[in-house]
Amino acid sequence: MKHHISFTINGQSMELTVLSHQTLLEVIRNDLRLTGAKHGCSTGECGACSVIMNGEVVNACMVLAPEVDGTDILTVEGLSDGEELHPLQKSFIDHHGVQCGYCAPGMLISAKALLSRTSRPHEEEIREALVGNLCRCGAYADIIKSIQVASRARR
């Protein structure tokens, strides 16, 4: 079945026709060609496809496209302000918060949502916020540090 949906993504209004079984991840990767959010498992276990939907982190592989109607979506492509990187992105570069990089868009999204809730999170809060984002390289320690430094710099 086809659905007409309208939503906002990275600040832009969007209208699309989607199928009932399509996921948000398929829509943003295939229809909108925003490939920052990654396919890692398709079952909501790895967090590589994390995006922010109405202020909350969701696994885009677990959201059906029709549910997106009327929502506000932020993907990693919407983090930077034009050429100007988001402080989180800068901090990930400076503090080795990225190795192979496949988890990085999801990590940034979870971090962004965390900093919107808590401006200066403790290490324990960061660990908790990232528990749904797998990193096989084991870069967690530097990811946590990158987020901590970025949160301090924002003040």
Partner: protein, 780 residues
């Protein structure tokens, strides 16, 4: 080579490739930009371990809407392998492992490809299979490869196909039996390690397209494109120069994207797709089912100590369950044999390494190169021996560790190394004390343990490294290498080296995606010596490039080259103080004729024979770990409170990068040690997602991580540096095992140490202690 701490080398250096990764613009599997012309491939995998099979309704599947091409083993009978071709590209009549490819289809959409697979029916007739080492070695066991002697490459192996022994490597020095007979203390144990999976977050995938008559281009996300080109071209009977593999970003490999797994199938189906691009991108379930496993280990190890606390003898028999293919594991076996004693100078030693065929999916080494599993056994054995002899485990290690100047292997004298610093600094970091017994608070017991490690760096026979640097006005400084950045900071290293050697601003330098069109097809340096060999060729290329630039300006200025140098992006003359911007020279030239283009290539080729298996032992990476754990004695729940890891990297060219690799290795080791186990039922993997095969999350990582960098320069390495990333896990699991013993009195000899396994062991331990107490009480 002196260790040069400069303004660039040895200083923190940002990750040059990180910006794209962090803005979502890097190209990983599934991200390749292709239009509506793109076809989608899917593979039909066997679901039985060992069976005869019939594939039915293939013609029906071919006629499904949207199907463009479909190939089965009946269409393409070919074998696959780098050294021994012990795999079929597609199964014919018989499957040898669950996950073996039976058919591959290309269709207009992923759904149409799936529908084509569903239209086929596989009828299996099960055959007896062998799935573990014991049953594979049993008398009259079914033979996994009865026709092995006919496979290309068989003559290079020491195999016994009738016993399911795929290959053997060993070494021996002294008289182990006599030394063990005279030893004051002898401990003999069996340790095991479960099979693991690499589980990169990016599953295997890419795009392939036929161009022209029979020229195939593949955009793949692999760690060894040159090696893959060689393997795929041979399997498909193509001239290697007709196959081109371009590698952009790799979303994690850990060894799973070195040898060919599904890439050959994508190449085969793309050749049938009429010139349209074809994408393959495995699902997570397929990744777990069908790519590679890292082999399970059984280690039977014996160590003998004399009255003076010297380790006098060692015997180790390491058996590996390599599944239905040994090809990808072969080159690790020499490494395992050399590392097999642990990092000790033992006068009488014998190590036997056996690869055993079973009906499981093919084995490939994982980060740590299986040397990590070897140390799980040896480094706990050392603690067991220390306890038996009443010695401090630290003292026993210090007394016996291998030192610079020791000659343990023919033609190899051990170099100065950081073993002692590694173990002293890690134990100090966690506050280990020799006389500290376990601390128990309520039901929580805390304990500390340590382990050391060494990992041979071996130059593979025929191994090549190449680097080309070009300076021109348009792209300034572009670099072509044959190695691939898989997240270890390889491109940052390249940029740093060139920025230093040519004295260029680092923003001029761009490392291009690896492309097999750049060099001839061959074996390549991959993981264990990538920095060493690429550093070598980059230094050649930068020296030549510098010579070219200075020679050009020397003619222009009519000054001897010896007066000239490159400083901060300028050519300067020390004699006349003249200065010329290299940027200006490249972009505008000197007035007459087009601006110059400078280009230089460095080449390294190992002298060892190309087709043999024994490489050249070049050096040892050395490591030390110390762990503190807290165990809930009632539930078996385990927390790693701290884990310190030290590695001698010779010279930390990018110190923060080195620490990042160490921290990553510490977390990945913790994951492998406590959580990971690939499980099978009748040979069929049942751990097909991250619920059943958990990897460490932020909740599982050690609470405190201490990365420690030790620098004892290696004379042959670039700036005295040595490779790290692969070796950085060697020893960590045993440090955790030794800490658990210290905390609980329970020795776990099987990996992984799951909460269930620890709970069962604690229960058994307390039951036996209660029985012993009761007997003692009766005796009184």
């Amino acid at each position: 080579m002196v260790m040069r701490k400069t303004h660039i080398i040895g200083k923190p250096f940002p990750l040059v490739e990180a910006q794209k990764k962090l803005t979502g613009t890097s190209c990983y599997a599934g991200d390749e930009p292709f239009g509506p012309d793109l076809l989608h491939a899917r593979i039909l995998f066997s679901t039985r371990g060992h069976a005869r099979f019939q594939l039915r309704h293939v013609d029906v599947a071919r006629k499904q809407p949207g199907v463009v091409a479909l190939i089965t083993g009946a269409d393409l009978q070919t074998r696959l392998g780098a050294t021994i071709e012990d795999r079929m590209l597609l199964a014919v009549e018989e499957v040898h492992f669950a996950g073996q490819p039976l058919a591959v289809v290309a269709a207009e959409s992923p759904e149409a490809a799936s529908a084509a697979l569903a239209a086929m029916e596989v009828v299996y007739e099960d055959m007896p299979g062998v799935y573990d080492i014991e049953s594979a070695l049993a008398a009259n066991a079914p033979q996994v490869h009865p026709a092995m002697a006919t496979y290309r490459g068989f003559d290079k192996l020491d195999a016994q196909p009738e016993r399911n022994i795929a290959h053997r490597v060993s070494f021996r020095r002294g008289d182990v039996d006599a030394a063990l007979a005279q030893a004051a203390f002898v401990v003999e144990r069996t340790y095991t390690a479960a099979p693991l999976q690499h589980a990169p977050l990016e599953t295997h995938g890419g795009v392939a397209q036929l161009q022209g008559q029979d020229e195939l281009t593949m955009w793949m996300h692999v760690q060894a494109p040159f090696l893959q080109r060689q393997i795929i071209a041979r399997a498909l009977h193509m001239p290697p120069e007709n196959l081109r593999i371009i590698t952009h970003c790799v979303g994690g490999s850990f060894g799973s994207k070195v040898f060919v797994s599904v890439e050959g199938l994508l190449a085969a189906i793309a050749r049938e797709a009429g010139g349209r691009p074809v994408r393959l991108h495995l699902t997570r379930e397929e990744e777990f089912l069908a790519v590679f496993m890292t082999p399970a280990m059984r280690a039977q190890v014996t160590m003998g100590l004399d009255e003076a606390g010297r380790i006098v003898a060692f015997r180790g028999i390491y058996d590996w369950n390599v599944g239905a293919s040994v090809d990808a594991f072969l080159r690790e076996m020499q490494r395992i044999a050399l590392a097999g004693t642990g990092p000790y100078a033992i006068p009488h030693a014998e190590v036997q390494v056996n690869a055993i065929y079973t009906h499981l999916l093919p084995a490939a080494p994982m980060r740590g190169l299986s040397v990590a599993q070897v140390h799980w056994a040896v480094e706990q054995l050392v603690d067991e021996l220390a306890e038996e002899a009443g010695l401090s485990p630290l003292l026993l290690r210090q007394r016996n560790l291998v030192k610079g100047g020791d000659q343990l292997f023919p033609n190899f004298v051990m170099h100065a190394n950081g073993l002692e610093s590694c173990i002293l600094e890690t134990t100090r970091a966690i506050g280990w004390q020799p006389d500290q017994n376990r601390e128990v608070t309520g039901t929580i017991a805390r304990g500390k343990g340590m382990a050391m490690g060494w990992s041979p760096i071996i130059i593979s026979p025929g191994c090549k490294s190449r680097a080309t640097i070009q300076c021109d006005g348009e792209n300034l400084c572009t670099v072509i290498v044959d190695g691939v950045d898989v997240g270890q900071g390889f491109y940052a290293f390249i940029t740093q080296l060139i920025a230093f050697e040519l004295n260029f601003p680092s923003e001029w330098i761009t490392v291009l995606p690896t492309d097999t069109a750049n060099y001839e097809s061959d074996w390549q340096a991959i993981y264990n010596n990538l920095l060493w060999s690429t550093g070598k060729v980059l230094l050649q290329a930068t020296a030549e490039l510098k010579r070219q630039i200075l020679s050009y300006v020397s003619e222009l200025w009519e000054e001897p080259m010896t007066h000239l140098d490159l400083v901060d992006g300028d050519v300067i003359s020390y004699a006349t103080q003249r200065r010329l911007s290299v940027l200006k020279l490249l972009q505008e030239g000197t007035g007459d004729g087009p601006p110059p283009v400078f280009r230089a290539t460095g080449v390294y080729e190992a002298t060892a024979k190309h087709d043999g298996l024994d490489g050249l032992l070049q050096s040892f990476a050395t490591t030390g770990f110390a762990a503190e754990v807290a165990v809930n004695l009632e539930t078996g729940d385990l927390k790693v409170l701290q884990l310190a890891g030290a590695a001698d990297v010779g010279h930390a060219i990018n110190p923060e990068g080195v620490k990042a690799q160490l921290k990553g290795a510490i977390i990945q080791s913790t994951s492998q040690t406590l959580l990971e186990e690939l499980r099978f039922k009748d040979g069929v993997p049942v751990t097909l997602d991250f619920m059943t095969y958990p990897i460490a999350t932020t909740a599982d990582m050690p609470q405190k991580i201490h990365p420690i960098v030790v620098e004892i320069p290696q004379s042959s390495g670039p700036y005295g540096a040595r490779d790290l990333s692969n070796h950085a896990l060697v020893g960590a699991s045993a440090a955790i095992g030794n800490a658990i013993y210290r905390a609980t009195g329970v020795r776990i000899r099987e990996l992984p140490i799951t909460a269930q396994r620890l709970y069962d062991a604690l229960k058994q331990f307390h039951a036996s202690r209660t029985r012993a107490d009761a007997e003692e009480n009766r005796g009184q």
